[in-house]
Symmetry: C2
Subunit: 338 residues, 2 copies
Amino acid sequence: MRATTIHGPGDIRFEEVADPVIRKPTDAIVRVTAGCICGSDLWPYRGENPVRRGSTIGHECIGVVEEVGAEVRDFRAGDFVVVPFCHCDNTCAHCRAGVQSACVNISMTASGQGELALVGQADGSLVATGDTPGDDELASVLALSDVMPTGWHAAVSAGVAKGGSVVVVGDGAVGLCGVLAASVMGAETIVAMSRHEPRQLIAKDFGATHVVAERGDAAEEAVMEITDGVGADAVLECVGTDAAIQTAFAVARPGSTVGFVGVPHGVELPVGRMFSKNVGLRGGVAPVRRYLPELLDLVRDGRIDPGKVFDLTLPMAESPEGYRAMDERRAIKVMLRP
Amino acid sequence: MRATTIHGPGDIRFEEVADPVIRKPTDAIVRVTAGCICGSDLWPYRGENPVRRGSTIGHECIGVVEEVGAEVRDFRAGDFVVVPFCHCDNTCAHCRAGVQSACVNISMTASGQGELALVGQADGSLVATGDTPGDDELASVLALSDVMPTGWHAAVSAGVAKGGSVVVVGDGAVGLCGVLAASVMGAETIVAMSRHEPRQLIAKDFGATHVVAERGDAAEEAVMEITDGVGADAVLECVGTDAAIQTAFAVARPGSTVGFVGVPHGVELPVGRMFSKNVGLRGGVAPVRRYLPELLDLVRDGRIDPGKVFDLTLPMAESPEGYRAMDERRAIKVMLRP
């Protein structure tokens, strides 16, 4: 098959690789209808994470089941499915506790920007859409493989509550989905931190009541003004840098929780401040499978439209351009079609 | 008055100092019936925290109101009261949210190991016992000024739930009170980490179902065996050292929360593990006033007896010996009487 690969920092290719094969009887292979580029794919692209030369890249996709292993009971060839980026048996103690991202049989999608994707623990991982999503909802269904459940997880982890105030740090696709999640959960005040007009517009469309373009101390002051000097009831950290984490804790009110979903890079948690202000931290790798049924219903009922985070669609063969566009912030999030 | 003072590492004295005076109309002065030494007092005693030479030390006490400022409405001379170590107006936004330890008008007891203690925001801070506690419950009432609510806060922060498993890291008086809190909250499995037999006995008396004497990797293995390889549903970190924090996260199951109340010293939070395992952190300085009415009822109804953590009572004039006894772990917690 052909798939997107990474050979080093800035070196993305679309090329012929070996087809995935069923190795375990619980595996399935999905023919990708649409995949996309994740903000976290930019870490290796930018040389911040080590890479294995020539390995496939891309963990978000939806598509049609092509083949299933002998023990897969709930899916068969032809089913249209959402593939959670982390695969889980959905039966172990961690899955039962709602932390499918810590499943004892965890694996991850490795070629979501290619023509075929191998899925481990297919019965536990996949969620069928029932029919083939139309062009009008394809993007929103694709968003369910990672970005929307990740924004949702930030909101759940931060304890977003009806009527409360929420600050979302990060205006990438995850942060925007965090705004959408907070809105669905009934937050009254939703502050999107964003300096980029196209992203500010989506944030507002998703339910942001305020936009703060400042950073650092000025951002903190702006949030304090919006929240009558109290700080936010919940903060969603959707970046993963130390600056974003420090801002998140600076704007969180005492007793609140920062929900973090940005993969930490060079982060030093402000333990003294956390202790003196009683500001907690929860979150991590999103248990996508846990949220999928509920979020799929919201999409199909037309109540949420997370697909709006895709502002560029390219043929899969042009994935290198997709990376460049996201790296240079010319695109918020790029969809790739075979 | 005479009070305990600190002049440098290891240099505790009991000497004549200026009487506290009412400076704000919301202040009160309490004549100390009993005070005690906190584990956190050992940080400056051991030279880990800077000290101002000759300053009074001691933030835990109970006693009788001696004098109140002009605006104090709810208390008058003669009332027997519990003095929360951190004083609060109990009306600001943070207090209303249950984080009285972040009150905008916060202050702390500064001479709880002396004859008189100044209390800020008396109406918001103090809790009257209604009568004078008898000798049989004096210790347990004294424990309400800090140590018991702090252990309770660890359990609340960690989300201890009925029927769940709990690990308590730290067998100091706070850790033991954490065991007691977990027991009252209905935890089914309570693991006390302790290497000291007298403390193990109190832990068991307070409701510990298991004692783990190991540390480091061996401690982690022991907890994994007790919890069927899953890890604990809730972990209470009651020490404040980096080793204790690392152990706490090592034994916490994915999706759980570490409740921390040990003042962090040299702690580097394991952000990568927290993220990959979805283990959260909550807690900090205990909002004593929030828990006081409920805990006072439990004490007076005879349902909890946190006073058992006091295994040495000394005349206040012998406070230097009290510090030595706690520093050398000859005593778990020392009560001081005028």
